[in-house]
């Protein structure tokens, strides 16, 4: 807040002294300039993000032909459908399991990368981030081919160990497993990079002090690393929770929700109901169920972000 006052007087003094214009004129000019600079951003957000968000609330209250207002009957219709509850369950299983494994793998691999000499870290980090760089639609195609029912390269390899052909995408359990596996594969590098950056920011003195106190490696992680990284772990996890919960590409390409709708997430089911079966109100209704979870995660992220801002 102090910045604002100081800045403003400085500006007026500078321009005033130079051009001799009045104080009010200069003030007016600055906020006008600021307004015009942010106007495109405000328009974009208002027209293409905020308006559609509220529009989908309105859409969710219409009947299938979108001719009359039906109130909440779309919602009550969903509550009666078994598929809906399956989607809720699968979305939660998918998001929570995937985020936990992404965070664990990211944390572990970040430590391994941090352990090796500095010069080689760059090379390894570069290699390990590749899954995050490839567009998910493309890499999921590779997974689809690896999971192919008759030519699966995984089953070919596993057959040498006497493990029978696994129906990667044909069986409910394995299809859920595969979808989560691909998501973990795609998202873990992001955690790795975030945690690696956080690990590098922990001062060495803390580890030296811990070593002098006789802490073993587990105590060093528990009492030094984790508390120092707590903020970044929280933000990364919450952010990833939002992205994973709203995931579309992987499930759409890998299983299209099958077998028997058991791998559908909110996004893919909303797509199937709203676009493919052209029941737009019901589709809007399905996607709106993501809002509560997204909102809770967003509130926590915002709290952490502003906390960081105050610390700095």
């Amino acid at each position: 807040m102090a910045d604002v006052v100081v800045d403003r007087t400085r500006v007026t003094r500078a321009t005033g002294a130079r051009k001799g214009t009045s104080l009010r004129n200069a003030l007016g000019r600055k906020s006008t300039v600021a307004f015009f600079l942010t106007l495109p951003l405000i328009l974009l957000i208002a027209m293409l993000v905020l308006y559609p968000a509220f529009y989908s609330l309105y859409l969710a209250t219409l009947n299938k032909a979108m001719t009359k207002f039906v109130g909440l009957s779309n919602f009550t219709f969903l509550f009666k459908r078994e598929t809906f509850w399956m989607v809720v369950q699968q979305s939660c299983i998918f998001a929570i399991t995937a985020v936990i494994f992404k965070a664990l793998i990211g944390f572990i691999v970040a430590h391994f990368v941090h352990n090796i000499p500095g010069k080689k870290q760059r090379k390894w980090r570069g290699m390990l981030l590749v899954p995050w760089v490839i567009p998910p639609a493309m890499s999921t195609l590779a997974w689809l081919w690896l999971f192919d029912p008759s030519y699966s390269a995984f089953n070919y390899t596993l057959s040498f160990f006497g493990v029978g052909p696994i129906p990667w995408l044909g069986d409910t359990f394995w299809a859920r497993f595969s979808v989560i596996l691909v998501n973990v594969w795609y998202g873990a590098p992001f955690f790795l990079i975030m945690y690696l950056a956080a690990l590098k920011s922990v001062p060495d003195q803390l580890y030296e002090a811990a070593a002098i106190d006789g802490a073993n490696w587990w105590q060093r992680i528990w009492y030094v690393t984790l508390p120092m990284m707590r903020n970044i772990i929280a933000i990364t996890t919450l952010f990833s929770l939002i992205v994973t919960f709203a995931n579309f590409d992987i499930v759409r390409i890998l299983t299209s929700g099958g077998p028997l709708d058991t791998t559908h997430l909110f996004a893919t089911w909303a797509f199937q109901v709203g676009i493919q079966s052209s029941d737009i109100p019901l589709g809007a209704c399905v996607s709106l169920f993501m809002v509560p979870i997204l909102a809770v995660a967003a509130i926590f992220i915002l709290r952490d972000v502003s906390k960081r801002g105050n610390e700095a």
Binding site: P52, V133, S139, Y156
Partner: protein
């Protein structure tokens, strides 16, 4: 707490002291071992893409060892790179991504400048709002946007659905919030003395932005550009919903819908297409890795 740990680990410390370097060496060896394992896990799909793309369809259906190419051939590449359809997808993707990068920069740089330096009424709220917008996923907005485009089309008579150019308006909703957010961070880290000096020298706001802020925050600008490009290139849901005709598709949708829908899954071509589609982001990443990573981490650390 600290006294407890000292008591517990006190005696064992003497024993460990001498073997410190040997412990390090073993930790290093184990680190490499596990890193190799994870690298195999992370790199299997892209390498398998490459392997399959070099096979003829006869070799793929012969069910030989899938991890090895016995008769490498470039016929898949030749076929795709001479197919008008594939080149059309590539062209659509390129033009959409490049134009979206320009639109994103035109919107987010001035906005970030205003939000970082010209504190005005509601600027803090707006900055938070921008960050929140970034958290709204595409899967929440595609249905209302689809309907909105239909309504606008009916009112104005301009064809919007099933046209690639509609993506130019939609993609910025994904790129602008994050780019603005990281540019605010980079601009805010520029010392105030710099723009004060510029003001004293008589520079206008515009000159301060173009002569001071953009050159100094160039690394951030590059990171934001890379982000905007890769996001537009990889976007799958919006083009899947908004475009259907083959000549309007972008690469990810084109490959998944046209190559997969044939009677026979031509995996050689699908993998080649996927690899070619993944190439532009991978090439950018290979050359500008540091900027890429800076952009990735800036989102959360520059709060």
């Amino acid at each position: 707490m600290s006294t407890l740990t000292i008591d517990k680990a006190g005696p064992s410390r003497k024993v460990k002291y001498g073997s410190m370097s040997r412990d390090r060496a073993w930790a290093l060896r184990w680190s490499y071992f596990f890193l190799v394992l994870f690298a195999i896990f992370f790199l299997t799909p892209p390498i398998y893409m490459l392997i399959t793309s070099l096979k003829s369809s006869a070799e793929i259906s012969a069910a030989t060892n899938p991890w090895w190419v016995f008769h490498p051939t470039l016929s898949n590449y030749a076929e795709l790179l001479t197919s008008n359809q594939f080149l059309r997808f590539f062209w659509n993707s390129s033009i959409v991504s490049i134009v979206v990068v320009f639109i994103t920069m035109l919107i987010s740089i001035p906005a970030a400048f205003a939000l970082a330096r010209m504190k005005f009424w509601g600027s803090a709220t707006l900055a938070t709002g921008v960050f929140l917008t970034y958290l709204i996923p595409d899967s929440l907005l595609f249905i209302p946007l689809f309907k909105m485009l239909g309504v606008v089309q009916d009112y104005t008579g301009i064809t919007l659905l099933n046209r690639w150019y509609v993506l130019l308006f939609i993609y910025p909703t994904l790129t602008v919030p994050f780019c603005t957010w990281i540019m605010i961070g980079y601009f805010a880290s520029i010392p105030k003395e710099l723009d004060e000096a510029a003001l004293i020298d008589g520079a206008s706001w515009l000159q301060t932005l173009t002569r001071i802020f953009i050159p100094v925050a160039l690394p951030g600008l590059i990171a934001a550009t890379i982000f905007a490009f890769t996001v537009s290139w990889a976007q799958f849901l919006y083009p899947l919903v908004f475009t259907t005709s083959i000549d309007q598709l972008v690469l990810p949708v084109g490959i998944t819908t046209t190559l997969i829908k044939g009677d026979v899954f031509n995996w050689g071509q699908i993998m080649t297409g996927a690899l070619l589609g993944a190439a532009p982001p991978l090439i950018i990443y290979a050359f500008l890795m540091d900027y890429y990573i800076a952009g990735l981490t800036a989102g959360a650390t520059k709060g």
